[in-house]
């Protein structure tokens, strides 16, 4: 069992710094999801933990042991890749056993572990197939299995679900989460999908341009985003941003931008609301409807409404749950009240 510690970790390629000093403490058995837009440095960070990229500055420890100068296989980690990275010429069984054979583990122990993992992942019937004879979901499971049989101190996942279709993705993220709980293995999970982050993580790390903007439990991050970036990235539909001039009576003095989630807005008659505008368009999701309202200043505000879609062009008022309004200063930092 293991903890992972990142201390002021930096990475530069040539002269460009892509990771600008990340600190992170992962508790034993915790599932940390690193989330952020494409190109923000998630993979680079994960690969530094794995030992596939050198660490330019800072220190990474796994289970209390500094690993900066250790080879990947000496770090006692297992990694699941986006494209699964299965050995195409080997059967599922051989894929699972490969690492164990190299570690010179006795054959009966290898067989026992492979059988156990195959059972856990419902791969028993496919052990003699080659990867190309498997579906995407099954390949994903083999990649998981290859990580599990090693019984490592930590799992590292790099967007493991992004090659699957939407439905399978929902199913697999629950399976991975359940598996991780059951095995209790410390895990770092990288994704660009904020829904994956919200649903799977014990704590999320929201990354932006090589910086960890916020680290915390998903709901905490959702309710109290530390910055404009986090507020806009976490949540779907994203948080509404409003010019404080429109709400000058309640806006904090130093606020440059105000934010409110669509579920904290409601539609009223044109006269009654705090804000008013015309309906630009509606997205009916079934259970509720996202009403996009065009404000007087031309910006759009999304209201999550439980009513039916409304005619485009209709004049509406929007009422706000004022305690839920967040203020952000000129640097995009949240203003704590």
């Amino acid at each position: 069992m293991a903890t992972i510690t990142l201390n002021a970790v930096k990475k530069t390629y040539g002269k460009t710094e892509v990771i600008h000093g990340v600190d992170l403490d992962v508790a034993d058995g915790e599932l940390i999801v690193i989330v952020g837009p494409s190109g923000c440095g998630k993979s680079t960070l994960l690969r530094m933990v794995a030992g596939l990229e050198t660490i330019t500055a800072g220190e990474i420890s796994i289970a209390g042991r500094k690993v900066n100068d250790l080879e990947p296989h000496e770090r006692d980690i297992a990694m699941v890749f986006q494209n699964y990275a299965l050995y195409p010429h080997m059967s599922v069984r051989k894929n699972l056993a490969y690492g164990l054979k190299i570690a010179k583990i006795p054959t009966d122990e290898i067989n026992r572990r492979v059988a156990k993992a195959a059972k856990m992942l419902q791969l028993d019937d496919y052990l003699d197939r080659k990867p190309r004879q498997l579906s995407g979901g099954q390949r994903q499971r083999v990649a998981m299995g290859r990580a599990i049989v090693r019984e490592p101190a930590a799992f590292l996942f790099d967007e493991p679900l992004s090659n699957l279709d939407a439905k399978l993705r929902v199913q697999m993220r629950m399976e991975i989460k359940a598996l991780q709980r059951e095995l209790g293995v410390t895990s770092l999970y990288v994704t660009h999908d904020q829904v994956e982050a919200m649903t799977m993580a014990d704590r999320v790390v929201v990354m932006n341009a090589g910086i960890a903007e916020q680290i915390g439990p998903p709901l905490e991050v959702y309710r109290n985003p530390a910055s404009l970036f986090v507020a806009g990235f976490i949540g779907s539909p994203p948080m509404n941003f409003i010019n404080p001039a429109l709400l000058s009576d309640i806006a904090p003095a130093e606020a440059e931008t105000l934010g409110i989630r669509p579920e904290h807005c409601a539609l009223t008659t044109a006269e009654a609301g705090r804000l008013s505008g015309t309906v630009a368009f509606c997205e009916a999701l079934g259970a509720d409807t996202l009403v996009h309202v065009r404000m007087a200043d031309g910006s759009l505000l999304i209201v999550r409404s439980d009513g039916d879609p409304i005619e485009t062009g209709e004049a509406v008022g929007v009422s706000l749950e004022t305690p839920e309004i967040l203020g952000f200063d000129s640097d995009g930092r949240a203003i704590r009240s």
């Binding site: 990947p72 990694m79 990275a85 050995y87 490969y98 690492g99 190299i102």
Partner: protein
């Protein structure tokens, strides 16, 4: 939806393939036909008339110890050329695949030998190893080795193998490098995380995944060693000393054009034709089912 070009004039397609067809007929089928025809005739010593002898040229050929020796020479020569040019090329490709800085220049330099004409490549090696004035010979002498491939058959064989392989390395290198770069990087990384050393990764992951390329090159290199090394042999050893570097193709030339034994020479051509046919079938069979892992 059918995606094909349709011609309104039914003669136009024939007109368009006519030049290629003509070239094939005149330069391939006609000489091949001539060879088959001649292989069944025996010309008189003055070349004025020829007599039909059926398969006699062939029987004579297979009983000729020199011809059998030439078969053995060819087997040794082509195995050595194929083995050395492929293994050196694979080694260089694996190294080039790891190079990040300056890889462009490195690769370009490795490809150059392929642009050298076979006869010129032969002459280059001949000069380097010339028993009296060669640079390499001089250095070998300094090291205490007396090189003379004009007298020593083994040395002659070594020299033609080196010259022939040297040219082919570039070609093999290109294919191996392309093959290596087609292997997903993450597969190699997964193996590294699984604890496989560089050598272990090479033998258990990289080499098996390269096997389609390796097999393709194997056939190409055997064909090369059999049929396209004439110029190298001709410039360096002219088949000698004695018959030590007379491979089958060279013997066709030596017997037919130098020895003027046209019947036997034609029969030898037919044997070679047969070998090419076999190799081509092997290659096509393989291309049909390329992915075999």
């Amino acid at each position: 939806m059918e995606n094909r070009v349709t011609f309104n004039n039914r003669w136009l397609p024939f007109l368009l393939i006519a030049p290629q067809l003509l070239v094939t007929l005149v330069f391939f089928f006609w000489p091949a036909g001539q060879a088959v025809w001649q292989s069944m005739y025996l010309p008189d010593p003055f070349g004025l008339s020829s007599e039909y002898v059926g398969a006699e040229n062939f029987w004579f050929l297979f009983e000729d110890p020199y011809y059998r020796a030439s078969f053995a020479t060819t087997a040794i020569f082509s195995s050595l050329v194929t083995l050395s040019s492929m293994s050196v090329a694979l080694f260089l490709a694996v190294m080039a695949d790891r190079v990040i800085k300056g890889s462009g220049a490195y690769r370009t330099l490795l490809i150059w030998p392929y642009a050298v004409a076979p006869a010129i490549a032969g002459v280059l090696w001949l000069f380097m190893f010339n028993p009296s004035i060669g640079v390499a010979t001089y250095w070998l002498k300094v090291l205490g080795y007396d090189w003379n491939h004009v007298l020593n058959g083994t040395e002659a064989m070594g020299l033609v193998v080196a010259a022939a392989s040297w040219k082919q390395i570039s070609y093999n290198f290109l294919f191996f490098l392309a093959g290596l770069q087609a292997i997903p990087k993450s597969v190699i990384e997964a193996a590294a995380i699984d604890g496989a050393s560089f050598a272990k990764r090479f033998w258990t992951i990289v080499f098996p995944l390269l096997s389609p390329t390796t097999f393709f090159l194997l056939v190409v290199n055997i064909v090369y060693a059999f049929f396209e090394t004439f110029a190298v042999i001709h410039t360096i050893t002219a088949g000698g000393p004695r018959q030590d570097t007379t491979i089958l193709v060279y013997k066709v030339f030596a017997d037919g054009f130098v020895g003027q034994d046209l019947g036997s020479s034609a029969a030898q051509s037919v044997v070679l034709l047969f070998i090419v046919g076999l190799l081509t079938i092997v290659q096509f069979k393989f291309i049909e089912r390329r992915v075999h892992y």
